[in-house]
């Protein structure tokens, strides 16, 4: 009895003395382990997701695709380049690595990664539109890239846009949780599910995302005219990147994507911009589609900048033929 009383008294003394330290540390320790486990599981799931943009980024970042011809750009290039059709017409394995919502600032990390690992890529195609070289400080869905934040190419490209948040995501434990969006969680679940069920959907379109919608807008409506301001800094970044691509014997092809004439009317200096961008490509490898007959018909678009499936097929077939001629394949 006495021993038991003595023991319970010493436990109580111990509790009184160390409780303020032991309990919080234990609480925080368990929480840290819990968060680490969740974060690791989420990251793992995201990396195994094959869904949409995240799936495409995963394929590139995990070096699962190594095509002969790789397309980069924003959603304009993503819905415009029919990669299976390009593969068929050119006899080159083509992959559309364009990512919806991004500009050159954000997708250049992917280009650098491809340049670093690819053994096959001979042609890097940039599907450019008017906003690709306009500087922004707003990341688009950065959580699609966060599974690879420790990759220098990805980190640098994101950091240049939003240094404060991106730095915190990388350096501060668990800060990334405050930045994850539902897309991130969805992809994590999809990735985990496809792994657990061993069902990995095949990307039969090689990154191409066709859009079947029609466009019934009033194209005669007067446009609010504005001037495009390209960032000299970004143009210079592109030139440096081009040199890096060239040094690994990859040709840089720049395509100014088709834009419906009603969309072109919004910009007072489009011709000048196209002229500036034409200097970015390797000699003879710039393609300007702003004068193409595609731009005159709404049947090829689902809005002023984006081609629908029919437009993408027509454009891709035409581009493949032109490219074949110029490359003398």
């Amino acid at each position: 009895m006495a021993i038991s009383r003595q023991m319970s008294s010493s436990i109580s003394n111990f509790n009184m003395k160390y409780l303020p330290f032991v309990q919080p540390l234990l609480f925080l320790g368990i929480f840290a382990i819990l968060l680490t486990t969740i974060d690791y599981t989420l990251k793992w799931g995201v990396k195994h997701s094959t869904d949409a943009q995240t799936g495409k980024i995963n394929q590139i970042m995990l070096h699962k695709v190594d095509p002969d011809l790789m397309v980069f750009g924003s959603s304009v290039a993503e819905v415009g380049f029919n990669s299976p059709l390009l593969s068929q017409e050119l006899g080159l394995y083509s992959f559309n690595g364009a990512v919806d919502g991004t500009r050159f600032q954000q997708y250049k990390g992917l280009v650098k990664e491809v340049n670093a690992f690819s053994e096959n890529a001979k042609y890097i195609v940039f599907g450019i539109t008017y906003f690709d070289f306009i500087k922004t400080n707003q990341l688009t869905e950065p959580s699609r890239f966060y599974a690879f934040i420790n990759n220098d190419n990805i980190y640098q490209s994101l950091y240049e846009i939003d240094n404060e948040n991106v730095h915190k995501v990388k350096s501060i434990p668990f800060y990334a949780f405050t930045q994850y969006t539902h897309t991130y969680y969805k992809n994590a679940l999809l990735g985990l599910r496809s792994h657990l069920t061993s069902r990995t959907p095949v990307d039969s379109l090689f990154g191409f995302v066709p859009h079947k919608a029609a466009w019934n807008a009033d194209t005669a409506k007067p446009a609010h005219v504005q001037k495009i301001k390209l960032s000299p800094e970004l143009l210079n970044d592109f030139k440096i990147l081009k040199e890096q691509l060239n040094s690994r014997e990859r040709k840089v092809i720049v395509v100014f994507m088709p834009m419906h004439v009603s969309g072109q009317r919004h910009f007072s200096n489009l011709k000048e911009v196209v002229q500036q961008i034409s200097t970015l490509a390797d000699p003879g490898l710039f393609f300007d589609y702003t004068d193409s007959s595609i731009c005159e018909s709404t049947e090829y678009f689902y809005n002023q900048n984006h081609l629908n499936t029919r437009g993408a097929n027509t454009f891709s077939a035409h581009f493949a033929k032109e490219l074949e001629k110029r490359l003398k394949l």
């Binding site: 309990q23 919080p24 368990i30 929480f31 968060l35 915190k168 501060i172 405050t178 930045q179």
Partner: protein, 489 residues
């Protein structure tokens, strides 16, 4: 600095650590430096207004204290100096442009020349809160309720104490000043309870209020794009947004102070369960409503006057409360509407009691209570329309179109998307969040706060529930830097 920012996550533990590490005699200095740092994170140059306000009130209160309580005539000039300085600062930064524009409009109508300039001044964060706090201090010293604080540092800390500096609770000197002198030992239970309250406040802010804000802003910034049900939903959502936003701030403030050993006054007591507008005001923004009661309503005569004068006093208090919230007609109408509710409630009290007896509602207490709570909530929501609308014409449009007679109802029944700036699944998620919140508030209605409700459970349940709370904040929280609504006041 925002409570929901990463900076605060670093700032607060550092301050707490320093506070408990320093000897008692230097702790006021630690807190004073911390408070100014906290404020200067927003705008460093505006700290000068705090300094001016502090200096004037310190001087005035000590000058008042030199004369005995009976010799009020000699105290009076100093009281006026203090009140006029505080109100002058408040008027210059908050109301000048509003009254200037109103005077200009009036001059135009009367065809009189008017040429006072407009100033582009940024409203200092929390100005209405700290000026009211210092004003109450000066008034209390004048009436001899408290002694003037001789220690300038302690007084400066009373004005700027960071947990409640920018959005209250508006503390009374009688409560806070004495605590600033007390020695607070580290107390494990108190610290953990404070942290729980802070986590609960953060949950309300980032998980509920900021999520609701997306939909409320979508509708209230483009009201003419909507009619009927979406307007009703947005208004009800705003009621919960502002409650979770402001009470969330208060919880964090009270919790932060509690961690360091200070007891700040309760600011909200489950106001949406009120059975009358009168009860609502005894549960909503308690620190402000009691301030108005003590420093405006009672000096006006309170209820110890003729009936019409009593009604007038009530109406004036609510009108001033509306003006306190902001220099905009929408706030004035909001205040006036609440004043009208109160006066109308008093005028019809006997008739309503009679109606209850005729309908025999008093026999069914549960049902009667539900009807009372629902009616009060509806009236409060109607007033929130003016509070949130960008201008009076938007508010009138919304009120005119708050109906169920339109195709939106059928859309809702058929489960189609009511575009409120969020996809349907997010909308449903937010609704679940609100439902969870109300349920928890209801279940814990007899407790001080849901945050300490779990204290009586075994450790495993307690910890699990807090892990869930923290994970919910991280996973469902909206972390775009959204300021607290009451910062603008």
């Amino acid at each position: 600095m925002l409570f929901n920012s990463f900076e605060f996550l670093v700032f607060f533990p550092t301050v707490v650590l320093l506070y408990f590490l320093f000897p008692h005699r230097f702790r006021w200095l630690v807190l004073l430096i911390a408070s100014y740092t906290f404020y200067m994170f927003w705008r460093a140059d505006y700290a000068i207004i705090l300094v001016i306000s502090t200096l004037i009130d310190y001087l005035c209160s000590n000058m008042m204290d030199r004369h005995s309580e009976e010799n009020r005539a000699k105290r009076k000039p100093w009281l006026w100096l203090s009140l006029l300085s505080n109100l002058g600062i408040l008027f210059t930064f908050k109301y000048y442009n509003f009254f200037n524009a109103a005077a200009k409009d009036l001059a135009e109508v009367l065809d009189v020349a008017y040429a006072a300039p407009a100033f582009e001044l940024l409203l200092p964060m929390g100005i209405s809160f700290y000026t009211f706090q210092t004003m109450s201090y000066s008034i209390d010293v004048y009436y001899g309720r408290i002694k003037a604080e001789k220690h300038f540092g302690i007084f400066a800390l009373f004005v700027t104490f960071f947990p409640q500096l920018v959005a209250g609770p508006i503390e009374r000197a009688g409560n806070l000043l004495s605590q600033l002198r007390e020695k607070h030992e580290f107390n494990y239970q108190r610290v953990t309870d404070g942290l729980k309250l802070m986590a609960w406040g953060l949950f309300k802010k980032v998980v509920i209020a900021d999520r609701l804000a997306v939909m409320v802003n979508q509708v209230y910034n483009n009201p003419t794009d909507y009619e009927g049900v979406p307007l009703i939903i947005a208004t009800v959502f705003f009621a919960f947004q502002i409650y979770c936003d402001f009470s969330g701030y208060s919880d964090i403030a009270i919790g932060a102070a509690q961690v360091m050993g200070f007891r700040l006054m309760e600011n909200f007591r489950r106001p949406y369960f009120s059975k009358s507008i009168r009860e609502f005001w005894s549960r909503w923004h308690i620190s402000l409503s009691t301030w108005f009661r003590d420093y405006l309503y009672i000096p006006l005569g309170g209820n110890r006057v003729l009936k019409w004068r009593w009604y007038y006093n009530i109406f004036i208090v609510f009108l001033v409360s509306g003006i306190w919230h902001g220099a905009n007609w929408t706030f004035i109408v909001w205040g006036a509407l609440h004043g009208f509710y109160q006066v109308f409630g008093l005028m019809t009290a006997k008739k309503r009691d009679l109606l209850v007896q005729i309908l025999r509602l008093d026999k069914y207490q549960g049902l009667y209570r539900i009807i009372q709570v629902a009616t009060t909530f509806s009236l409060v929501c109607l007033a929130w329309v003016f509070f949130r609308a960008n201008n009076i014409s938007d508010a009138l449009y919304i009120i005119k179109h708050l109906n169920l007679e339109n195709p939106q109802v059928y859309k809702l029944i058929r489960g189609q998307s009511l575009y409120l700036g969020l996809p349907q699944w997010k909308f449903l998620m937010v609704c679940s969040g609100v439902f969870f919140f109300i349920s928890l508030e209801f279940l814990t209605r007899s407790k001080h706060s849901p945050a300490i409700f779990f204290n009586r459970f075994p450790l495993v349940i307690r910890w699990t529930s807090f892990y869930i709370l923290l994970l919910s904040i991280l996973i469902f929280g909206y972390f775009e830097t959204n300021e607290f609504i009451y910062f603008q006041f």
